[in-house]
């Protein structure tokens, strides 16, 4: 195991930022730490980098203890690189000087290799002030990768960029990390980013990792309602387990997780799991539609509840049409 965090806690006075946090990350993988702002994600990165000391618990890198309440290995001795949110380039140095900052003198070949890798070969002698937001982040990534650290920490590296640039840079960063066979921890509040980039996702809430697993696991089987609604647009419907099925206002649904007879709880259904079948004598009516091009979100009034369904853009039903609502596949049931 490359990174192992055991029962890590940090509090400032009476204010607990992290409580008994556990996390593992493997060699060569990209691990995303996903959480809303204020969940303690950035603090976790600062602890891994060695900028702060934990109140209790331990951090191991390559099975070596680097942080505990009593012992904190200095940041420069950890072999951990960081790409801060605002990239924090050295404004007095050129792009290639920035990238070569952590390298011994005469490492031009390595600098050029990285310039090439992040697609900034023509920018070697520019000053950071003349770069765009995306270019700045590429330089910051190259700078962190240059000394071949054991682990790279990425602190919301795409949050300051516009949507289109973000999408492209994500792909590039993933490719660069793979090319360098680097192990990375990515902190983000963007579900889409975590799910699309990471080999493993750890969901954080209130200073703890609530669930960790592959993106599909996390998305399909969130351990609680909070994560289910955080990860994607979900409709919540009350349900009761009868004869092994969950009986709801939207019909009888099969549960993904194991359920006990007679349990009462809530079912979370993702909006893309609804199927709207046009049916003039259907019991539901389309009452609203937001068109996004590639798809559309359709608001439907069923006899008892109002739902929001994601539908293939060009073929989405019009407002006023009558439909029958089907739930595709199994759903997650959360007992009260």
């Amino acid at each position: 195991m490359l990174l192992e965090i055991r029962n890590l806690s940090l509090s400032y006075g009476s204010q607990a930022v992290l409580t008994e946090l556990n996390l593992e990350a493997e060699q060569g993988q990209l691990t995303a730490v996903l959480g809303a702002s204020g969940a303690g994600k950035s603090t976790l990165l600062r602890l891994i980098a060695g900028f702060e000391a934990p109140t209790s618990g331990e951090i191991y890198i390559d099975s070596k203890l680097v942080s505990s309440a009593t012992e904190v290995l200095a940041p420069e001795k950890r072999g951990v690189g960081i790409v801060p949110q605002d990239s924090a380039l050295f404004s007095h140095l050129t792009v290639s000087q920035n990238i070569g900052f952590g390298l011994p003198k005469g490492s031009d070949a390595r600098v050029n290799e990285l310039l090439e890798l992040v697609g900034l070969a023509g920018f070697a002698n520019r000053k950071p002030a003349s770069l765009s937001g995306g270019q700045t982040q590429r330089v910051a990534l190259a700078r962190a990768l240059a000394p071949r650290p054991k682990l790279i920490l990425l602190d919301e590296p795409f949050s300051a960029l516009d949507a289109e640039l973000r999408g492209r840079l994500r792909e590039d960063v993933k490719a660069v990390l793979k090319a360098e066979n680097a192990s990375a921890i990515l902190v983000t509040h963007d579900q889409e980013e975590a799910l699309s980039l990471a080999d493993k996702v750890a969901v954080m809430r209130e200073g703890q990792v609530i669930q960790a697993g592959s993106p599909t696991e996390i998305y399909n089987e969130p351990v609680d309602l909070g994560i289910a609604t955080f990860l994607g647009d979900s409709i919540l419907v009350d349900g009761k387990v009868e004869n092994g099925k969950v009986s709801t206002d939207l019909g009888k649904l099969s549960a993904l997780n194991s359920v006990a007879e007679g349990q009462v709880g809530v079912v979370a259904i993702r909006s893309e799991n609804f199927y709207l079948q046009p049916n003039p004598s259907g019991d539901s009516e389309v009452i609203g539609r937001v068109f996004f091009g590639h798809d559309a979100v359709v608001e439907v009034q069923t006899p008892k509840v109002k739902i929001r369904a994601r539908s293939n853009g060009p073929f989405a039903p019009e407002v006023g049409m009558r439909v029958t609502v089907w739930v595709r596949g199994a759903v997650n049931f959360y007992p009260n």
């Binding site: 420069e76 960081i82 605002d86 050295f90 404004s91 140095l93 952590g102 962190a144 000394p147």
Partner: protein, 504 residues
């Protein structure tokens, strides 16, 4: 584009012509007596002055840079603690005019004179400029680039040298220029401490021998040195800017075992720069209180305040007029006026005073030794700074407000009085107060140009010090700090900002 009102143009052109007087007269004087001037400059004495002045400027600049940088770094970037207290202590010497600082030292230690004395006093007096500039830069630069440097293998001391210092270097260079210019043009302190630099030599050449050519020749060298310092700063300050916005977090470096040493160093500097002078002034004031002539002190006080108020109003009128011209009616002539006024901003006061003495004695005898000529000197000396502080509030009034006022029926340029000046008034008033306080503390020009019978606090302090009557001088020194220095420090926006930013 609208034309500037005639009054604005008139004031601007007058200020611009006045600004050309000092250098113009020096050049004229040199042309008239070129041979005599050359003989004067070739004397070994000139070389000695050059060495003395250079030695003082270089050593003071270096010392102030080290002291100011360490003060700023320790208070903003380390876990030293008591940041607000140390920030106040580092800034407080600004409240003590440098000749008062010099006086307070000689009054306590009779042997205190010469190079080392001047070096110490000038370093203590100027290090706050470096402290303010560097602490502001440190607060504004993001400490996350320092953290990144740690992850790239640098120890905290290497980070200080390779990341922190380069980021604040432009600010430190600008402050060093200020310190160098300040030291170069300083007259009162070096004169009291009896160290021969150009300013003291110019004064002596004029006062003791009425040797105008010698004084003018030395003044020209001083002006050339000033230009050299400005050129140096332009050449070596570097072309990059720290553009990062204020960072959300400030990470402090743990000092460990060096902490007591650092605290002791800062306290020692504060003791020398604030403790010694205040103790000395208070002590001598108490000694002198029994024999002090209250009516004499009161007379000097009234003289100082009157002069400061009159000069403050005059300079403010000119500054506002030129600021309006430059900001609201950008014309070629307006820019030329602006440039010509700024050209004087680094000119030593003694040079300006000398030029006006010559002018008054030879060309305009009816002006010689009048308050008007002295106020003209203040105008030439302090208009650049006043313009700097007053142009900002005027420029900050949106142009659209004037357009709205015009559309609501305000006729043409009346909008300046209806809209622009009322909105900019707080900034203009603060600038006016600051200029008045600067005039209150001024020594060399007042000394050379004072109208017969005029007494000021600075003049009384100077004369009593020349007679080594320290107990007589002390009350004046104390009043200069209380009435001139402290209020000026309180009005100093840079200092206020630094204190509020460093404190948290």
């Amino acid at each position: 584009m609208r034309k500037p009102p005639a009054l604005i143009a008139l004031l601007g052109v007058f200020a611009s012509l006045a600004a050309l007087v000092p250098l113009g007269y020096l050049l004229f004087r040199l042309g008239a007596g070129a041979d005599a001037a050359l003989t004067e400059l070739l004397r070994p004495r000139t070389l000695e002055l050059l060495l003395n002045t250079t030695l003082l400027v270089v050593s003071v600049t270096a010392t102030a840079l080290v002291i100011g940088f360490l003060q700023a770094w320790l208070t903003t970037r380390t876990n030293l603690g008591f940041g607000a207290v140390f920030a106040v202590l580092s800034t407080l010497p600004l409240a003590i005019p440098s000749y008062v600082l010099a006086f307070s030292f000689t009054a306590s230690f009779p042997w205190f004179s010469g190079f080392w004395a001047s070096w110490l006093v000038m370093s203590l007096a100027t290090s706050p400029y470096v402290f303010l500039a560097v602490s502001a830069a440190l607060v504004r630069t993001d400490s996350s680039s320092e953290e990144v440097a740690r992850t790239l293998g640098l120890s905290k001391w290497q980070v200080l040298v390779r990341v922190t210092w380069p980021q604040v270097r432009p600010a430190a260079a600008a402050a060093s220029l200020l310190v160098a210019l300040y030291t170069l043009s300083e007259f009162g302190a070096v004169a009291i401490l009896r160290f021969d630099t150009f300013t003291r030599a110019i004064y002596n050449a004029y006062r003791l021998s009425f040797d105008r050519t010698a004084a003018a020749a030395l003044a020209v060298v001083l002006v050339l040195l000033t230009l050299l310092v400005i050129w140096f700063e332009r050449r070596y300050r570097g072309d990059y800017q720290v553009t990062r916005p204020a960072s959300q977090k400030r990470v402090r470096i743990l000092l460990g075992k060096t902490k007591p040493l650092a605290a002791l160093g800062l306290l020692l500097v504060a003791f020398a720069g604030v403790g010694v002078p205040l103790y000395s002034l208070a002590n001598w004031s108490i000694i002198g209180s029994s024999t002090a002539d209250v009516s004499e002190i009161f007379e000097a006080l009234v003289g100082s305040v009157t002069l400061a108020a009159v000069a403050g109003v005059v300079i403010t009128v000119f500054a506002v007029a030129i600021a309006l011209w430059v900001v609201r009616y950008p014309t070629g002539l307006g820019r030329m006026v602006d440039y010509s006024v700024w050209a004087n901003h680094a000119l030593p006061a003694i040079v300006v005073a000398l030029a006006l003495v010559f002018l008054g004695a030879n060309l305009t005898p009816w002006l010689y030794q009048t308050t008007a000529l002295l106020v003209l000197a203040y105008l030439i000396l302090f208009l650049p700074n006043a313009l700097g502080t007053m142009a900002t509030p005027i420029a900050q009034v949106p142009k659209s407000l004037e357009d709205v006022a015009n559309s609501l029926g305000v006729k043409g340029n009346r909008s300046i009085f209806k809209v622009v000046l009322p909105i900019a008034a707080p900034g203009i008033l603060a600038g006016a107060a600051l200029v008045s306080l600067t005039v209150l503390k001024e020594l060399p020009a007042t000394l050379l140009l004072r109208p017969t019978g005029t007494e000021t606090l600075a003049l009384r302090l100077w004369m009593a010090t020349e007679e080594l009557a320290f107990s007589q001088a002390a009350p004046y020194a104390l009043l200069l700090v209380i009435l001139g220095g402290l209020p000026a420090l309180a009005l100093n926006t840079q200092a206020r900002k630094a204190l509020s930013e460093v404190g948290n």
